[in-house]
Subunit: 267 residues, 2 copies
DNA sequence: GCACATGTTCCATATAATGGAACTTGGTTT
DNA sequence: AAACCAAGTTCCATTATATGGAACATGTGC
């Protein structure tokens, strides 16, 4: 079955396999048929069948008209995750203020298994149609927020994260290997600011800063995105101080925040 | 282990147990310690320990400072669920229009395992809806949207849903048993409109309509919420036609919508 | 009515989960 | 400092669960 040493962080027990199936359904991005998943050859027929039965019965998948989609129960759980584990609720007022002040699109992201997870977004008045929304994921190696966080990761987590990067050359400016990326990360670590120089999508540029804990580990990152048509990189660079200041405020708020402390009803 | 006759909260296999743990963490609403969950007596020590290890390794839980919270991976999956399985993306323009037209708070909800899951919300002045609003759950038996959907459920699903209701008397107007609720559901089924007459929270009232498929099964529900201070029930009742019209448009759009259809278009 | 594709069930076997108890770890009391 | 306690972690024989090849059902077009 499973070779002794499989890929890092993969396939622990039945739960891991079930999550693989969920990921596969999520990756499809549209309702999938049982046979479509089966055709990937990743699972034997009966195994996949029972796994999907279980997931459906749990509300993690939804089965209608012979096709499967992700289930609503995920939305319910994510609501809790968004409140408990994400910076978004804490950062909201600061991001509102920053977005209003700069009149630009602001993104709040966190690192999830080596990928960038956007947890909040504040659009400028004329929203640019692009790759973004809360819950959306993106690559770390070619985004401003991704590099900002990578640059402050401890070595063991960094190498784990780098091993998960695709290094697909989206544009002519994209890093295509870990070494060239590491060189830039060192600079970013020093300056505390990172840029996306059209590395992910042509004409899209951004400036980003990490949100750092007391210990210097990245809690998340903040970015302002624009286009080459509207801003130069130098113009974006001038926004860095405002971003840094907001990031510091968020970091402070995040660490001051202990949950409501409702041990008992204090009668 | 499990008694021969499985109880309402049927736990299927390891995945089911893992989900129970996730629910427990979600229910806490704040970071929980291993010992807190252990103290509920629902799981033996070693079992709970390994289960949480697995969940953490999968990114479904996050472990920091000795406490567990729901993990970010859930947000990522929920993003897919929101797009694939919820009415929200389809309903968005219609809800925007309705909300602008009425200048009132509009909710879009769906049924999830007997409970009302709010998948979108448009407040009169608050423009950005996200997981902060979407993802909230509420009871079916004492909310407008809940009753609107229950009223159109086939008998088997209805009785399953009713068996999951708490019938907690939140206010003096709350239904406290299935029979009294069923009587109202019959009326709602006829009229196609339901009301929350301060059944969940004092002074909070609402009018709701179901979003029905061609076959008459509820896909979701739409509501306008207000307070006794601002509106009478009669005033809310006058909004019903606008709600019904919007619901019909959403139903049509939902059923017209087949996903992008990348392969074969029916020859 | 037949053929082929898709979906479902069976069942002996292999695998993974179980949980009682023993063992660390870190902090507090005597 | 030794003794204590609580929280967290590991061990391992036992038992429950998942596995998957193959047979069985269902249904759609010919």
């Amino acid at each position: 079955m499973n070779a002794p040493g499989r890929l890092p962080g993969h396939s622990d027990g039945t739960v891991g396999k079930a999550m693989d199936v969920l990921d596969a359904v999520a990756a499809a991005g549209e309702p999938v048929r049982f046979s479509q998943l089966l055709a990937t050859g990743r699972w034997p027929k009966a195994t996949l069948y029972r796994l999907m039965q279980t997931l459906t019965s749990q509300g993690l998948l939804s089965h209608q008209d012979g096709s499967y989609t992700l289930g609503l129960r995920l939305i319910r759980l994510a609501h809790g995750a968004w409140q408990q584990a994400s910076l978004a609720p804490i950062a909201q007022p600061f991001i509102d203020q920053l977005s209003a002040e700069l009149c630009e699109t602001v993104h709040l992201a966190q690192m999830d298994r080596g990928q960038v997870l956007y947890v909040d977004k504040r659009a400028a008045h004329n929203p640019i149609p692009m790759f973004s929304d809360a819950g959306k994921v993106g690559p770390s190696y070619c985004t401003g927020v991704g590099k900002a966080m990578l640059a402050h990761l401890p070595e063991d987590e960094l190498s784990a994260a780098l091993s998960r990067q695709a290094f697909h050359p989206h544009t002519a400016h994209t890093h295509t290997d870990a070494n060239s990326l590491r060189a830039e990360l060192a600079e970013i670590h020093k300056s505390g600011v990172s840029f996306d120089r059209e590395e992910h999508e042509p004409t899209i540029i951004c400036v980003a800063v990490p949100i750092l804990s007391r210990h210097g580990t990245p809690l998340g990152a903040l970015s302002v995105t624009s286009t080459t048509g509207r801003h130069s990189l130098a113009a974006l660079a001038r926004l860095a101080p405002a971003l840094k200041s907001t990031a510091a405020q968020i970091a402070e708020a995040a660490q001051a925040w202990t949950f409501p402390q409702r041990d008992q009803a204090t009668p």
